[in-house]
């Protein structure tokens, strides 16, 4: 049924490179799109760190250009815009396309032995909806009063006209809605493709874990992104048409009308799964990469899959831990606390499996491997600090401080980002037919990893010391003034982290066009994507392969002493 899934190779430039329905081109489009936005979001982060370390000092280089009316100083409103758009861009326009869009599009058909996604046009629409979302988001920066200032969470009533009448917030909501639509389209596509287009013999338990991660992510996308879509529609209605879903009357006149907490529920029903939406593909990649480069089967494949499934299910029912201080009833609070604690069990299983995969392996410390291992480190750090925030007793104090900022950057940002980097370094040869420089890759890794850990670990300290997040200038409050040294140190490390990404940009661009030509299978890996030649032909597989074994049959004694791996299309010797 799936074998004749063929559409003809396009001939015009437009159909080939712009409005392409080929999953490989769309993957590259998503990758470029995501990387450019990651760059923009990163520059915003640098400006934020500049302001925090040197409140009121003009931003060097960019300041005069971006903030001419203030002589290069970031004014408080622009600061809010910056951190809001930094969050929105990184999550929705950076990691989502780079992780899910690019990786999903590239890996799913190639790793399951399909010729394309099952709905190629929907796939194209998914990219262009994302592109439209990005365009609207970018445009919102330039409307009168500027883009949104309500934080990436966009809590009403600050995000309604009560908080500001500029059009930026409306455009932001529309942008998020469009990006959400893109995610839903992609999600439907991924789920159906994985279910319907697996090559013969590619049973569920022979799927590479990357595909499992992407598959579960897509389920979450399809289930929960519509929730934020509806939240955004209500927000737009409130802003443009004067409804009051979120705007209550004052308590002195009875408190009737809308309810701002409604939005928080809607947002976090989406928002918490969003964390797993970003992290599940990274976990899948890490599971695979660890096994590939430790030359060892992924330890406990079934328990890993099971853990990811359990996390997928649980992620929907723990969202309340974001709202411990909003005024949840004691019963709700305790329930969410318990559920949140329970979700740590499958995560522990994953850690156990990862570490066990490395144990007694034969480690090849390539750049993708380094990034994969660093995910264990940073996600370990981020996940464990989640316990502080899952516990209401400590969350009451730590909520909305830099502790939270450090925590979620390590879990969802750094882990997903390092997972993405690992994936890019790993699949780059297949994507572009050239190798990325390993030397520069290792420099990039170490210069990213060390400052990153420093940046967010200092944030734990400042959060514990009571520094609230989203403050324009911590030196304005006497209580926070003695903490400024932490801000300065964080910023120095953050600038290093930012500078290190230039190495990646250089390496990426140089390798893309001038890199060493890549062999067909540079990593000695047996999954289906490496069975085909480089560059990948339009139909991926001349004949649909028949899968004979699992993806991680490394160092199997039956292979004999000369080789330690086997293609999935090959049969294991008896």
């Amino acid at each position: 049924m799936s074998s004749d899934h063929i559409h003809p190779e396009p001939t015009t430039f437009l159909r080939k490179h712009v409005f392409s329905t080929d999953h490989k081109v769309i993957a590259k489009q998503f990758l470029w799109f995501g990387l450019i936005w990651l760059g923009i979001g990163g520059i915003m982060a640098m400006m934020l760190r500049w302001q925090l370390a040197n409140p009121g000092v003009p931003v060097p280089l960019l300041g005069g250009l971006l903030f001419p009316r203030t002589g290069g100083v970031i004014d408080p409103a622009s600061y809010n815009t910056l951190f809001t758009m930094h969050g929105t861009i990184m999550i929705f326009l950076g990691l989502t396309p780079a992780m899910i869009g690019a990786l999903g599009n590239w890996c799913i058909p190639l790793m399951i032995g399909a010729r394309d996604m099952i709905f190629p046009t929907l796939n194209m629409l998914s990219f262009w909806a994302m592109f439209a979302g990005g365009a609207v988001g970018f445009y919102s920066l330039f409307v009168p009063l500027g883009a949104t200032e309500a934080g990436w969470t966009g809590y009403p009533t600050l995000s309604t006209t009560v908080g500001g009448v500029g059009q930026g917030e409306t455009l932001w909501a529309i942008a998020v809605f469009l990006i959400g639509a893109s995610s839903i389209m992609g999600g439907i596509n991924y789920i159906t493709t994985v279910i319907r287009l697996r090559a013969p013999g590619m049973s569920w338990m022979r799927l590479p874990l990357t595909v499992w991660g992407l598959f579960l992510t897509s389920i979450l996308n399809v289930l929960f992104v519509p929730v934020i879509g509806s939240a955004m529609i209500l927000l737009v209605l409130d802003r443009v048409f004067g409804t009051s879903f979120y705007v209550p009357a004052s308590i002195m006149s009875g408190g009737t009308g809308g309810d701002p907490i409604l939005y928080q529920h809607l947002f976090w029903i989406f928002g918490h799964p969003e964390v797993y939406i970003l992290i599940l593909p990274a976990w899948g990649v890490v599971c695979d990469l660890l096994s590939f480069f430790a030359r060892k089967p992924a330890f406990g494949y079934r328990t890993s899959v099971g853990s990811m499934v359990v996390i997928t299910v649980l992620s929907a029912v723990v969202y309340g831990h974001h709202m411990f201080t909003t005024g949840l009833s004691a019963m709700l609070g305790e329930s969410f606390m318990l559920l949140t604690m329970i979700i740590s069990v499958p995560a522990e299983v994953l850690f156990f499996n990862w570490l066990h995969t490395l144990w007694k392996g034969s480690l090849r410390l390539t750049t993708p491997m380094l990034f994969a291992m660093s995910v264990i480190f940073v996600f370990g750090l981020g996940g464990l600090t989640g316990i502080y925030l899952a516990t209401i007793g400590t969350d009451i104090f730590l909520h909305d401080t830099y502790f939270v900022v450090g925590h979620f950057h390590l879990t969802m940002a750094a882990s997903a980002l390092f997972g993405t980097f690992g994936a890019v370094y790993f699949w780059f040869p297949k994507m572009f037919g050239r190798m990325m420089s390993e030397k520069l890759g290792k420099w990039h890794f170490w210069l990213s990893f060390v400052p990153l850990v420093i940046v967010f670990c200092i944030m734990f300290i400042s959060g514990y010391a009571g520094m609230p997040r989203r403050y324009y200038d911590h030196t304005s409050v006497e209580y926070l003034r003695p903490l400024q040294h932490l801000n300065v140190a964080t910023s120095v490390a953050a600038f290093l982290l930012g500078a290190a990404q230039l190495i990646f940009v250089f390496n990426f661009i140089k390798s893309r066009w001038w890199g060493k030509p890549a062999p067909q299978n540079p990593w000695d890996v047996g999954t289906l994507d490496w069975t085909i030649e480089t560059p990948v032909p339009h139909y991926n597989f001349k004949t649909i392969p028949v899968v004979q074994c699992g993806p991680h049959e490394f160092s199997n004694p039956v292979l004999g002493p000369d080789t330690d791996w086997i293609y999935q299309t090959e049969k294991l010797p008896d």
Binding site: Y139, V165, G166, L171, R239, V240, F241
Partner: protein, 315 residues
Amino acid sequence: MLGWGPCFRHMERENSSLSVCPHPQESDPDPPAMRTPSLGRALILSSFLLTACGGGGDTPAPPPGGGPGAGPGAGPGTQAPANGGSGGAGQDTAPEAWSDGAGTATVSGSATFNGDAPTPVQIAMDSDPKCVEMNSDGATDASVLVGANGGLQNVFVYVSKGTDAWTFTAPEEPVVLDQKGCNYTPRVVGMMTGQALRVQNSDPTVHNVHTYPKKNRSSNVSQPAGSKPLDIEMKRGEVLVAVKCDMHAWMQARVGIVDHPFFAVTAADGSFTLPKLAAGEYTISAEHEVFGKASKQTITIGDGEAQSISFEFSK
């Protein structure tokens, strides 16, 4: 994209020169600012335009270039800008100067209060022993003074319409408001625009003279015992501007400012006289500090005639 955010339903703003998006020019052909002619504005605009632009643009722009030589008074004639200089266009004929002999008609009459005269309230002046001392027999609130036959004292009566044909020169000598015995005397005075209100302090204690106008600028200046008199100018006609001393909360006076000399304050029996009116049609208004405005009276009077009108006030 720009047009559809908050502009979905726009509110019209009154009394503002700010326009409403998205099509200000078409939707508001006659900007509100231009509907009320303002002498000052017209002069500013015309002097700018005649000196610098030499003609009207679509919008009242600042003089282009703004060179130092572009001072006023250099251009010939008054050339009204296309939409900015219509200020004076409403008046048909220029008013001529009033001469005292022109009017021979007299309007007189009385203001009465319908109902029981309120019992005077005793004022507690004990915050300032000096005031207590000066009012040793006790002081009562003088805001409402009803005389014989219900005549209401301290009503400000003035011609509110009908004098536009003339311009009047304000007298040189100021109107005097004295602070004496911790009270203003007289309690109600009238004066012409441009005339000075001279407030003097005859008390051995400090007062502050705080005016509460709506159309003119307010002022609040303290006057310790023995200070020089204070001249306050009111440039615009405004009837019944309160003058208060905040230090002695009971001290109040009212000033009626009109741009002509046809005003009067009713006497103890409620009577008043407006002499020297020229023949014509007039609207005469009366206002009391507590009871507010009485209904206006319109009269037509010929040379040498005398007419009588009355105003009634009630609670």
